[in-house]
C-alpha cells in the first residue's frame, strides 16, 4: 500500500505558515511577471506582437520555474505506525544442561526464570497481541506454550544462545524475551547479535536464571584446538604461526600463552578470557632461521600448560613465480631481469602495457600468455609476486586494480615501483593506493619545476647541434644512497641489507610520499639531506594474507652500472626483497582436535591436515602411562588433504597425539582427559547477568525483574509514524527545462536582433 503523502515548502519558506509562504511566493511571482512584461514592452528594437508575446512567455516561464526551485517543494511520505493489534512477542527458553542443574535447595535456574516470567506474562499479553514460545539448546525449536517449552525434551549438552536469538529474530517478532543464564558455549560474539537486533529494531529482554549453584573448582578448562604454520618457508623470511585455544572459565580471567622453538621462547602474552566458553585465536609473526627443520610449540595455561607442536621446513631455495608489469619503456627491466636470472628459483613472466606497442615475450614455459595485466584474480593466482614498475594510474582499469587488491588479500604480494611523484600522485585515492603502505604525496608545482630543471631538455630544435664534442657529456644527478630507518633492527631489514654501508642500494630519482600508513614497516629511507627529513624509499605492510610493497625509486640500474661487474649487490637486493615477500608454500602437518571436551571412555576425534602432495602421515596416541596406540586414518569429507582418526582414552590424565609426515615433518598435540567432560556447560559457571543486561540495553530492551517492562497496547497507537521528506525540485529534467527555456529565449532574442 502506498503510504500517504503531502507536500511542503522547503528551505527558508518552511519556517512560515503555509498561507504566509504562499503569499511570499505569489508576491514574488507577480513582481517577476510584471517586470518581465514591462521589460519586453520596451525593447531596443521594434518587435512584432507575436515575437514580443513569445519572448515574454519564455521569460515568464523561467521566472516561475526559478521561483519553484526557490520554494523548494518537498514530498512528504508518512508511514503509518504499526497497528496496535499486530505486535508479536517471541519468548525463547534456554533448555541447556546448565539450566537444569539443581543447587543444594533442589532449585534449578530454569525454574527460577519461569517463575519470574510468569509474573510478567499477563503484562506481556496486554502489550502484545501474540506470544510465541520456543526452546533451544543447540537449535531453536517452536513450542506450543510455556509449559511445552519448559517440560518437553531433554536438556541439551551446549548453549547456542546467540545463534538461537538470531534464529528468533528471523521470525520477525516485535520483541524477544529470553529465559537463560546467558552462558553461550560456542564462543560466538555478542556484538554481532546486538547489531542484528538493532538493524531489525527488535528489543531483546532477558529473564536472568539464577540459583545458588557453586562454580566447579576445577578451574579453567583449556584446550589447544589447533595450530597452524606453513609447511615450507624460506630462510630469513617472516611468516605467521597461529593457534586456536578453547577456554571454559567460571569467571573473567586471562590465559597465558607462549610460543617456543626448541629452548627459545619466541613470544608470549596473556589473552583475555571471559566467563563461559571462549574460542581464542593467537597469531605470531616468526622469522625463519637458517635452512633445516624448525620446531614450533604453543603452550597455553598453567600447571601444567597444554602444548601443541609442529615443524616447519626452512628451505634455502624454492621456485618463485614473478609477474612483471611495466607501464613505460625504461632500462631498469633489463637489470632486474638479469638479477633474477642468476637464481633459477625465480621464474619471470613480463607484460608491457599494450599501449607501448612493444611485443616481447618473456614468459615462463608453463604459464599462460598474458596480453595485459589481468583483471581477474584467477589469472594472477599462478604468480606469487606481481611487480608493477613505472605505472601510471590511467593505464590501469578499476577492474585491474580490484584484481590486484583481491590477489594480495588472498596471499599474494605486490611490489609497486615508481620514482615519479607525478605518476604516483595520479594514484591518490585509488584502490591500489589504499592497499599500499604509503600515501603518495601530491605533485607540486615546485617539484615539477625542479624536475624540469634537472630533467630533460626538450628543445624545440633538438640535439644542440652547436655543442662542441668536448662538452657532450650527459649531466646526471648523483647516485643517492639508501639508508636504514632509525632504530631498524628488524630481521627482515637486515636480511635485505646484510652489510649496511657496503651494499646499500643507490638511486637517482625518487617519488615523495605524504605519509606511511599505520602498521606499515619502513625498510629504507633516503640519507638525510642537509636540513631535510629522510624520505621513505621502501616500505611494506601486510594486507589481508599478503604483502604490499612500495618502492619509491628507480629500478636501481644506474647503481648496477656504477658497480664493478664482480659485484652481486643488485642481484642480492632484488632476490632478497622478492624472497621476503614470497608467500610461504603449503601448510604444514596439522592436528586438529574435533572433540571439544574429551573424557575417558568417550571417543576423541582428530583431524590430520597436510599437503595433498605428501604421503599419508602416521599417527599415534600416547597414553599418560606412555603406551603407544597407532591410529587408523580415514579420508575426511571436507578436504582433499585431510584425514580423520579417533581413539577412546581408557585412562584419565595427559594424552598426546603425534603425527609424522614425509620429510621429517611432524605435529604433536597434548590435552588432558578427565573422568568427566569439562565443557563449560557443566562447569556450573555463574549466570552472565552483566552480559545479558548489556545486550538488552544495547537493543532497547531490559532485564525483566520485579518492575513492569511492557507498556499496554493502547499507548502505542499514539506513536508517531515515520516521515520521509524528498525534495521535488532538484531533478535533472527541471534544470534542463530551465536551461532549455533560457537558451530558446536567447536564440529568439538573437533572431530579432536584440543581442
Amino acid at each position: 500500500m502506498t503510504p500517504p503523502f503531502e507536500w511542503q515548502f522547503g528551505g527558508w519558506l518552511r519556517g512560515f505558515p503555509p498561507v504566509t509562504a504562499w503569499g511570499i511566493v505569489a508576491a514574488a511571482a507577480v513582481a517577476g511577471l510584471v517586470l518581465v512584461v514591462w521589460l519586453y514592452g520596451r525593447t531596443l528594437r521594434q518587435l512584432p506582437p507575436a515575437a514580443r508575446a513569445a519572448l515574454t512567455l519564455f521569460r515568464a516561464a523561467i521566472v516561475l520555474l526559478l521561483l519553484l526551485c526557490l520554494a523548494n517543494p518537498s514530498r512528504v511520505e508518512k508511514e503509518k505506525p504499526p497497528a496496535a493489534g499486530s505486535k508479536k512477542l517471541a519468548v525463547i527458553v534456554d533448555r541447556s544442561a546448565s539450566m537444569s542443574i539443581p543447587d543444594y535447595r533442589r532449585a534449578t535456574r530454569l525454574a527460577g526464570a519461569v517463575r519470574i516470567w510468569k509474573e510478567h506474562e499477563g503484562e506481556a499479553s496486554a502489550a502484545f497481541s501474540e506470544i510465541k514460545y520456543y526452546r533451544f539448546a543447540t537449535e531453536l525449536a517452536p513450542a506450543a506454550n510455556l509449559d511445552d517449552a519448559v517440560e518437553t525434551a531433554k536438556p541439551g549438552p551446549e548453549t547456542h544462545l546467540y545463534s538461537a536469538l538470531r534464529q528468533a529474530l528471523d521470525a520477525g517478532p516485535d520483541a524477544v524475551v529470553c529465559l537463560t543464564d546467558g552462558l553461550d558455549t560456542t564462543g560466538a560474539a555478542r556484538d554481532e547479535l546486538a547489531g542484528e537486533a538493532l538493524r531489525r529494531n527488535v528489543p531483546l529482554y532477558f529473564v536472568a536464571s539464577i540459583n545458588r549453584l557453586q562454580p566447579s573448582r576445577s578451574g579453567d578448562a583449556v584446550n589447544i584446538r589447533e595450530i597452524k604454520a606453513p609447511g615450507t618457508v624460506l630462510r630469513q623470511v617472516q611468516f605467521s604461526a597461529s593457534a586456536v585455544f578453547e577456554v571454559g572459565s567460571p569467571r573473567d580471567s586471562q590465559l597465558p600463552v607462549e610460543l617456543w622453538s626448541g629452548d627459545t621462547k619466541l613470544a608470549s602474552t596473556n589473552l583475555p578470557v571471559r566467563a563461559g566458553e571462549n574460542i581464542l585465536p593467537w597469531s605470531v609473526p616468526v622469522t625463519a632461521p637458517d635452512p633445516g627443520m624448525m620446531s614450533l610449540e604453543f603452550r597455553a595455561g598453567k600447571n601444567p600448560p597444554q602444548a601443541a607442536a609442529c615443524t616447519v621446513e626452512v628451505a634455502d631455495h624454492k621456485t618463485v613465480d614473478v609477474l612483471y608489469y611495466q607501464g613505460t619503456l625504461q632500462w631498469g627491466y633489463r637489470f632486474l631481469r638479469s638479477a633474477l636470472a642468476s637464481d633459477p628459483g625465480f621464474r619471470l613472466t613480463s607484460i608491457l602495457n599494450p599501449a607501448l606497442d612493444v611485443k616481447i615475450s618473456v614468459e615462463t614455459p608453463d604459464q599462460p600468455t598474458l596480453p595485459d595485466l589481468p583483471d581477474d584474480v584467477k589469472a594472477l593466482k599462478p604468480f606469487q609476486i606481481v611487480v608493477m614498475a613505472h605505472v601510471f594510474a590511467n593505464q590501469l582499469t578499476a577492474r585491474q586494480q580490484a584484481a590486484l587488491v583481491e590477489y594480495v588479500q588472498g596471499g599474494g604480494a605486490v611490489v609497486f615501483i615508481s620514482p615519479d611523484t607525478q605518476a604516483t600522485a595520479s594514484f591518490a585515492g585509488s584502490a591500489l593506493e589504499q592497499m599500499l603502505p604509503v600515501v603518495f604525496a601530491p605533485s607540486s608545482l615546485a617539484e615539477d619545476g625542479e624536475n624540469n630543471l634537472n630533467g630533460f631538455r626538450l628543445l624545440a630544435v633538438p640535439g644542440q647541434p652547436g655543442l662542441p664534442v668536448a662538452s657532450r657529456s650527459q649531466s646526471l644527478p648523483g647516485l643517492k644512497p639508501f639508508a636504514l630507518p632509525a632504530g631498524a633492527t628488524h630481521s627482515a631489514v637486515s636480511a635485505l641489507f646484510e652489510k649496511p654501508g657496503e651494499t646499500l642500494p643507490r638511486f637517482v630519482n625518487n617519488a615523495r610520499v605524504r605519509a606511511v600508513k599505520p602498521g606499515a614497516e619502513v625498510l629504507a629511507v633516503s640519507a638525510p639531506a642537509v636540513g631535510g627529513e629522510p624520505q621513505v624509499l621502501l616500505a611494506r605492510q601486510q594486507f589481508g594474507n599478503g604483502y604490499a610493497v612500495a618502492m619509491m625509486t628507480d629500478l636501481l640500474w644506474r647503481w648496477k652500472m656504477s658497480l664493478p661487474s664482480s659485484s652481486h649487490a643488485l642481484e642480492k637486493f632484488w632476490q632478497q626483497l622478492l624472497l621476503s615477500l614470497a608467500p610461504s608454500s603449503g601448510e604444514g602437518l596439522r592436528l586438529i582436535k574435533l572433540t571439544e571436551s574429551p573424557s575417558i571412555h568417550q571417543p576423541v576425534v582428530l583431524q590430520i591436515a597436510g599437503s595433498a602432495a605428501e604421503a599419508l602421515p602416521t599417527v599415534e596416541a600416547v597414553s599418560p602411562s606412555r603406551d603407544r596406540q597407532p591410529l587408523t586414518l580415514q579420508p575426511a569429507t571436507n578436504g582433499e588433504s585431510a584425514w580423520t582418526a579417533s581413539f577412546t582414552p581408557d585412562a584419565a590424565g595427559d594424552w598426546e597425539v603425534r603425527a609424522i609426515g614425509s620429510g621429517k615433518k611432524s605435529a604433536r598435540l597434548s590435552f588432558p582427559v578427565p573422568v568427566t567432560s569439562q565443557s563449560a556447560e557443566m562447569m556450573n559457571l555463574p549466570p552472565d547477568v552483566g552480559g545479558m543486561r548489556e545486550l538488552a540495553e544495547a537493543t532497547g530492551g531490559a532485564m525483566i525483574e520485579d518492575a513492569p517492562v511492557f507498556q499496554p497496547r493502547e499507548n502505542s497507537a499514539a506513536a508517531p509514524g515515520l516521515q520521509h521528506v524528498r525534495p521535488l525540485w532538484n531533478s535533472a529534467w527541471l534544470l534542463a527545462g530551465l536551461l532549455g527555456l533560457y537558451a530558446t529565449e536567447l536564440i529568439v532574442r538573437r533572431r530579432f536582433k536584440l543581442l
Binding site: L352, P462, V508, L563, L755
Partner: protein, 247 residues
Amino acid sequence: MKNSDPITREHFLRLLLAGAVFTPGLAALGGGLDELRGDRVGWARLKTPSPYWLRHSTGDATLMQFIRQQTTLNIDPTWYVADVESLPEMCKYPLLFSQGVHMVQSATGHGNVAEHVRRGGFLLVDACCNRDVTPDFDAFLQQETDFLAVALPEAKVVSLPSSHEIYRCCFQIPDGHPPHTFFKNIYDAQKAAHGLYGVMIGQRMAGLITLSGLQCGWDHMVAPVGNDVACMRMLVNIYIYAMMQGG
C-alpha cells in the same frame, strides 16, 4: 595605459560559444602532449681512436626525435660522447653506439668495453656504408668478432635468424631482414645478404653488430625514399630489444 576597444555583446557571446566548443578539444590536445615517460637516458657514441667515430653524428638528433615520437622512452634529444678510455663516462649510458671497436688498441679500452658489457651495458656496432670507411664488410665483421673474442671471451657473435623477435618487437621489419644503406645508392648483393649479428653471452644479447649502415640511413645519405625511416625503425627495434633483455 592603453584602453582596448569595448567588446560588443555579440562578440562576447561568440567568444563564449567558441570557448565552450573548443575547450574540451584543447584539453585533449594538451593531455596528448603530456606523454608518460620513464627514466631519462642518453644516447652516446663511443669515442675510439678511429677518425670516423663521430661520423653521421649530425643525424643522431633526428634519430632521437624519432624515438621520442614513436615510443615512451625518455631519451635525451642531445647525443653524447663516451670515451672508451673512461669507464665512468661509458657507464652513464646503458647502450653505446660505435662505428666499430676494432680500432681500440689500449688495454684500458679493451677492458672498459668488456666491463661496460659485463655490468649490463649493450654495445651496438654499425658499419658505415662508405667504402672509404668500411672497404670490406665481411672483413669488418671479422675484425669486430676478433676484438670481442679477445676482450670479451665469454661472448659469441651469432647471426640472428629472420624469425628473431628483434625484427618485430616494435616495428614489423619486412622479411625479417635489416634495411641496408648502400654506398652511393649502388646495390651490393654481398652486403645485402648480411642480417644482424648478436653478441651473445649465454642466453642474453649483450651487443649487436650490423653491417647495414643504419646511421647512414637516418643521416639521409643517398638512398631510396623511405630508407631513413626504415633504418630508424630497425634501430628502435634494436634499442627496445636491448632494453628488454637481461643485462
